[in-house]
Amino acid sequence: MSALTVKLKIDNIEVEVPEGTTILKAARDNGIEIPTLCSLEGLTNYGGCRLCLVEVKGAPKLFPACTTPVSAGMEVITNSEQLREYRKMTIQLLLSERTHVCSVCVANDHCELQSLANKLGVDHSIFERNWTRKEIDSSHDFLVIDRNRCILCTRCIRVCDEIEGVHTLDLKQRGRKAEVIMDLDEDWVNSCSCTSCRKCAKVCPVGAIYIEGEPITRTKNKDVAEFILTRRQRK
């Protein structure tokens, strides 16, 4: 990384970070938390969940903090009334898109979508639910995917490609029809590239990919992100 640094203001706090740093990282490194569901340190940022949208003074639109690099003199607002409203609405859209029923979900109490909804005070959704009935693939020995719970953050796809290096997982279709698939849309058990490394389950923010027979607290161990980061840096 370049030794050059840039100075900017985040929520009126003067910060100095290396050139090329994203707004999200610059904020985090300075103790300012911006909510996100798709970004995971150590993986390429994707800008998919839109929860990290921030305001930049003088710009007419909002920017995803995870994919926007800082620039000198930038003034970023991460937590305005308007942004909080947008974030609540984004969570409501995510909750209504597929069949998220916390009470019968394997990830209940260990789910990033659920805890973010709680933190932001999303106590109901103004959008009518789709009540999806997508395929659940439990053909693999211990890895299960329930696509009804998927929020399409693509963390699993990125960890499979960038860290494990096999790219078993990918998306088919677009928009609300999009689905995570294995190889050329095979049943998981028939995937010839999957190494059964479990990283997809470990990075899943919700209960869409999980490990059968393993306590969810073990699967969603927070040290995993750390592990991914170290592996990534060694590369």
Binding site: L95, T99, H100, V101, C102, S103, V104, C105, N108, D109, C111, Q114, A117, N118, K119, L120, G121, V122, D123, H124, S125, E128, R129, W131, T132, R133
Partner: protein, 180 residues
């Protein structure tokens, strides 16, 4: 405080498991303070047959799954000042609404329950309220003033919301509400 001065509270049990009512009762000794200020005028816990007039607060557990529930909900809305969705079934539809993912779900669940899984007298009952095609959270049927998600919502959150409302304040659910 005389009965006339107390806040008139009703509770309703729609398509839910009664867990939210259990959680309401689980307020332990805090319910004694509440009892000094409120009078429960309708609900599964009291013997009133018809939904009364002039109710101040109605807590409703469960989703709207049949015609009777739909009309009771509308009646309660018309006769209540503050209507509260209590628990995930009332707020999201939750488990009772899982059937919504199937086309023609009302017919399917009746056939499943009364014909496929019945040992004797295989017939779909006609003398009970008809199922709605889609199970709905309350706010898709009537205007809801406050939401307390949770499966069940914790007793302390129920107590917080009621205490705030009784004090004339607006409850702030940020960091308090929790689905599941």
């Amino acid at each position: 405080m005389s009965a006339q001065e107390k806040t008139r509270v009703a509770t309703i049990w729609l398509s839910g498991c009664s867990g939210c009512h259990m959680s309401f009762l689980d307020q332990d000794e805090l319910i004694l303070d509440l009892a000094k200020k409120i009078q429960v005028v309708y609900g599964p816990l009291v013997d009133t047959k018809a939904f009364p007039e002039n109710v101040d607060v109605t807590l409703i557990e469960g989703a709207v799954a049949n015609e009777e529930q739909q009309s009771l909900l509308k009646e309660a809305r018309a006769k209540t000042k503050i209507l509260i969705s209590l628990g995930d079934c009332a707020v999201t539809g939750n488990v009772p609404a899982l059937r919504n993912a199937w086309e023609d779900s009302a017919k399917l669940v009746l056939e499943r329950g009364y014909i496929e899984n019945a040992d004797v007298n295989k017939q779909i009952p006609t003398e009970v309220p008809g199922l709605l095609e889609k199970v709905r959270p309350l706010h898709e049927v009537v205007k809801v003033d406050y939401f307390i998600p949770g499966c069940p919502p914790s007793a302390s959150v129920i107590n917080y919301v009621l205490t705030e409302l009784l004090a004339g304040r607006t409850p702030n659910m940020e960091g308090r509400s929790k689905y599941g």
